[in-house]
């Protein structure tokens, strides 16, 4: 398995129009449900908010990485949205957010190691400030996949 197997254009949405943080989390949770990686949207969203209480997920540079560790997750995965308008989020640099990476993993990660390794690679790429700027300005899901998997 490679990065391209988890980060498919289906999991990436550009120019998403949401009003706020809740809208972004619910939009991406729906993407994970539709792809079959999460089987209970409300339970998953509740677990994402639980993680939000434990620390800031806005890592600066316009990027947020909310995540849920949840029994509702069938396969560890990530869904990505770049936003039409920046939204308020608790961030390390105090700025707004215009790209959101929603990670999900199960309660038990037995048999899921390969997927988790790939998710760790997605996270690692988000440490590259130049790449992050390119992702935020990308025009299509395919372009983001190309940037992230390059």
């Amino acid at each position: 398995m490679e990065l391209r197997d988890v980060l498919t254009p289906q999991m990436v949405h550009t120019g998403v129009d949401v009003a706020d943080k809740d809208g972004a989390i619910r939009y991406l949770a729906r993407v994970l449900v539709d792809a079959g990686y999460v089987d209970d949207l409300e339970a998953f969203v509740a677990d994402v908010y639980l993680r939000e209480t434990e620390g800031i997920t806005g890592i600066g540079g316009g990027i947020a990485i909310p995540h849920g560790k949840s029994a509702s997750v069938t396969v560890p995965a990530v869904a990505v949205a770049t936003l039409a308008h920046p939204i308020a989020w608790e961030t390390l640099d105090g700025g707004d957010v215009d790209a959101v990476f929603l990670f999900c993993a199960g309660d038990s990660n037995e048999g899921a190691r390969e997927h988790l390794v790939l998710l760790s690679k997605v996270a690692t790429k988000l440490a590259d400030d130049d790449l992050v700027v390119q992702v935020r300005h990308a025009q299509s899901p395919e372009e983001i996949v190309r940037l992230m998997c390059g």
């Binding site: 995540h67 390390l92 640099d93 190691r113 988790l116 998710l119 690679k121 997605v122």
Partner: protein, 107 residues
């Protein structure tokens, strides 16, 4: 200087790996040698060996949770920091260590 580090966050999904990458990039950009282990959802990766730790001038623990194998670092100069601080401004963090280590005569 020669740095060994461990990164670990609460969920072990994302912050751990971003913190590792930011720390390594910032340290190398400032001319230091660094090896950073991660303890996350996939267990221990890039594990520090006894030789790595013995050769290190300083141990950096970029952690939000208790980690395994802490006993390895007994007696070593250690700096503990949250993953957020490392993600937020890795270069400032490395510079802070540089100043502290300079007082011990380590560059």
């Amino acid at each position: 200087m020669n740095i060994v580090a461990v990164a670990a966050c609460t969920t072990g999904l994302a912050h751990t790996y971003i913190a590792r990458e930011k720390l390594v990039k910032a340290a190398e950009a400032r001319g230091h040698t660094i090896k950073c282990e991660t303890q996350g959802s996939i267990g221990i990766e890039n594990e520090l060996t006894a030789d790595d730790v013995a050769a290190a001038d300083i141990v950096v623990l970029a952690i939000d949770v208790a980690i395994d194998k802490m006993e390895r670092f007994q007696g070593k100069p250690t700096v503990k920091v949250g993953t957020s601080e490392v993600v937020k401004n890795p270069t400032a963090f490395i510079q802070k260590i540089e100043r502290a280590m300079a007082k011990r005569g380590v560059k």
